[in-house]
Subunit: 138 residues, 2 copies
């Protein structure tokens, strides 16, 4: 059954390994309306990735382990405003998805306390897609 | 003494918190000679960030914790060839720095088994700089 999460179905985990399919993923959501260079965007994304990963691992170490065994799938998507970023964060909290909002201290390129990115998951792909399924790839 | 690592000097940890200076950092090294789009570069960097972070935490959880308390400093730099990437990896191993080489499975944009990025640290900034100090910011 597609809606089962990994931790509820050990057989599914074995299936994943055999087929090379992904059941878990992490999504990095980046603001494109800010004037960030590539290096800055990469650093903000890595902050989001690490912080969301730690949150996810704390909540459910077993699913986190499955994610890494599958190859730790990550997808980068974009939003065009602060409002859009915060709206996605809110939806993640409503769906109880592990999420990390990155607020830049503004040491370089942008003003202090600017929210720049979100990390979501790793979590079951089918759950993450409820929130991020319509966002455009970066 | 500036060359002391965090775990050898608890007082330095307190100093860091008060001053807001960084003593630890992680460096993401990205190949610019590959035809990767921004999203692909971000995902490769996040792979490097997570894998190097896990390696660093396994070796020295206390220093890893200091890094995160300081704000988890990350820097993105570029190289122009595979040879340069592998040379940096080798130097990291010679200096016993935690390092993760990311080899892409080539599902999108580039051929399978292409080394794309390196994650180095978190480790003491002064040690990381021995290897990455001359590399150009991305």
């Amino acid at each position: 059954m597609k809606t089962r999460t990994i931790r509820q179905n050990q057989a599914a985990v074995r299936g994943v390994r055999l087929t090379g399919n992904f059941t878990m993923k992490q999504v990095l959501v980046i603001r494109k309306d800010l004037k960030m260079g590539i290096g800055k965007m990469i650093v903000q994304s890595c902050h989001a990735s690490i912080e969301a990963s730690e949150e996810s691992k704390k909540r459910d170490p077993r699913s986190w382990g499955v994610w890494r065994e599958e190859g730790a799938k990550k997808v980068a998507v974009k939003v065009q405003s602060l409002e859009e970023l915060l709206d996605i964060e809110k939806k993640c909290r409503n769906y109880h998805l592990p999420v990390a909002l990155i607020v830049d201290r503004g040491l370089t390129q942008i003003p202090p306390n600017t929210p720049t990115a979100l990390g979501i998951g790793p979590a079951a792909e089918i759950d993450v897609d409820k929130v991020t399924g319509r966002l455009k790839l970066l």
